[in-house]
Symmetry: C2
Amino acid sequence: MTQGDGGTGGSGADGGADAPRTPLAHRVPDLGALELLLAVARLGSLGRAARETGISQPAASGRIRAMERQLGVTLVERSPRGSRLTDAGTLVTEWARRVVEAAEAFDAGAHALRDRRDSRLRVAASMTIAEYLLPGWLIALRASRPGTAVSLFAGNSAVVARRLQDGEADLGFVEGTGAPAGLDGAVIGRDRLVVVTAPAHPWARRRGPVPAAELAATPLILRERGSGTRQVLDAALRAHGGLADPLLELASTTAVKSAAVSGAGPAVLSELAVGDELSAHRLVEIPVDGAPLRRELRAVWPIGERPAGPARELLSLTRRGG
Amino acid sequence: MTQGDGGTGGSGADGGADAPRTPLAHRVPDLGALELLLAVARLGSLGRAARETGISQPAASGRIRAMERQLGVTLVERSPRGSRLTDAGTLVTEWARRVVEAAEAFDAGAHALRDRRDSRLRVAASMTIAEYLLPGWLIALRASRPGTAVSLFAGNSAVVARRLQDGEADLGFVEGTGAPAGLDGAVIGRDRLVVVTAPAHPWARRRGPVPAAELAATPLILRERGSGTRQVLDAALRAHGGLADPLLELASTTAVKSAAVSGAGPAVLSELAVGDELSAHRLVEIPVDGAPLRRELRAVWPIGERPAGPARELLSLTRRGG
DNA sequence: CCTGTGTCATAACTTCAGCTTATGCCCTCA
DNA sequence: TGAGGGCATAAGCTGAAGTTATGACACAGG
C-alpha cells in the first residue's frame, strides 16, 4: 500500500502515505500553529502575525516552516515586502479555520463549566443544547458583552427546572414537547428529529419516504427510555401503532450515532447531532411521511422573573432564526 | 497569566478576566489530549486509552490530570475497575469531538494536497467544494477504501476543466449554473446562495422576505467579478434590473464573511460557507423572494471516460443526498 | 483467605519541540 | 544611499510530555 512517497526524493524520511496508525496529533499542526497561520493570512506578514500571537518573529518563521515541512506543502509565499498565502495555503487556512473555530467553542464551553460560583449569569441547559448550541451562543455573548462571566450546568429537563426554581440558575434551556410546569419560557427554535442509516442500509436506497407506520414497526437504535428524543418519538408514533421494541438501547447520543454509522440499523437523532455525519455521508437521512418529528427548544425562567441583564442579552442572542 | 485556579478565589472580578489576550492554544488542551479523552470515553479505562493512542499508562494519567487542572473541572471518575466520564466530562468530550473531527478533515485535506504525483486518484475541485465538502468525502473514502492515495488540486472551473482535459486529473468537482463544455458530468448536489447580514442590520428585523428587485438595487458585499457566486447572482437578478454596484468587492469568501459579520452590509454567500456563523448568530439569513439563488454542484470528467476504480468510488460517496 | 490481575498514581530521569536573543541579508522607498 | 520593514539562520535555554519502575487499591477465584 504505502509506496515511497511522491516527494522529490530527498529527506522525506518520515514515511510516505502513513495514514494508518500515527495518532492524529502527529499529523496535524497544533492549535498554536493553526492560529498563527490564520494570523498570517489576515495580516499579510509573519512578523506582524508573530507580534499578534505574542511570540517572536523567528519563532513564527520557524513554526510556519515546520508546518510546511510537516504537511509537505508550501503555504506561504515570502517576500521582502511581506507574506502572502499560496493557493494551497489558502485552502489549508480554511481548513485550519474550522479547527480553530471548534477550539473556540470548546474554550467557551469549558470556561463556563469551570466558573461555577459567583458568576453574573448562571445557565442551566439540557445536554443536547449544551453540546451543540450553547458554545456558539457563548462566543456571541463574549463578542457583544465581553467579560460576562457565565457558568453552565447541564442536565435533563427536570434538573434544569429544579435549579431555576431553587434560584441556582438564572436562565435555562430545554428541549421537549411542552413547557415545563412552574416555569415561564419562550420558544427560541425548533429541532427536528431525523431518521438516519448508514449509506448501505436498504432504506437509503428507497425512492419515497418511509411511512410512519413502517417506522413505528421497525426496531430502531435509540437512546434509553426517558430521554427527550425517545419521548418525542413515542408521542409522534403513538397514532401509528406505537414504537416497536428497540433494536439497541444506548446511553449516549454518540453511542447511537456510532452504531448507526457502523450499519447496525436505523437510528433517530436530533438533526443537531448528525449534521457532520450527513454532510460527510457517513449517514443518510431517511425522509419519513406522516409523523411530525419536531420539538421545540425553549428558554425558561422562574415565573415572573423575566430575564434581565446578562440573561436578557443571552436570550436575545438565541432567539433570532434559531 | 494563570491565576490560581478558580474555586473560592476572592475578588469577584476574576470572572471572564482571563479571556482576552492569552492565545487560544494555551486555554485549550492540545489535540493529543483531546484524542486521548475521546479514547477514554470510548474504552472506559485510562490504561486502555493509553495503549490505543500509543503512549504509556502513566503518560495518559498525567495528561488527563493536566487537562483537568487546565480546565478546572474533573472530567473522569477513576476507580480501581476503570474510569468513567463525569457529567462535565461528557460535555467536554462532545466539544472535544468537534475539534478532533475538524482536525481529521484538516488531515484528510492536507494529505491529499501533499500527494501531488503518482496518486491513484487525482481530483481537481473548485475552491468552495475543496474547502467545505471534499475533506468529508475523503474521510468517507478512507473509511471505505483505506489506503487510496488521493491528490487534490483546487482552482476555478476553467482550471479544473483544463486539468481533466489534459489528463492531469481523473475526477473534477465544480459548482455553477451549467456543465462546463467538453466534459461529461453529473449533478451531485445543490448549493444555495444566501443573503446574510449582521444581526443588527435593518434587514434582520424585517417581517417578510426581501423582494428580488430590492436585493438587486442594494449595494452588496460580494466576491470579485468572475467568481462562481457572483455569476449565479448576476444571472438570478438580471430579470430584476441587474445587480447594483457592489458595496465592497473582496477577494475571498472569508473576507466577505468578516465584512458582513462586522456589519458593513448585506453579503451573498454559499450556505456552505456560513453554516457556523448562522448557528452562532453572528450572521442572520435574509429570505429573498422571487430569485432562485441555487446552483448545482457537479462531478465532471472527460467525455467518454466514465469514472472507474477509485474515482467511481469517490463519486458514489458524494452522490447520495448531496 | 490469600493470590493474581486488572486499575490508577507517584517518582526520577530523559528528550525534544519550541521559545528567545542576536545577527545578517534582501528589498523598497524617500 | 541610508533607513526600515521583512524574513532567515544560529546558538542556547526551558519545560512539557514521554519513558521505566514501583506502589496502592479493588475485585474474582481457587
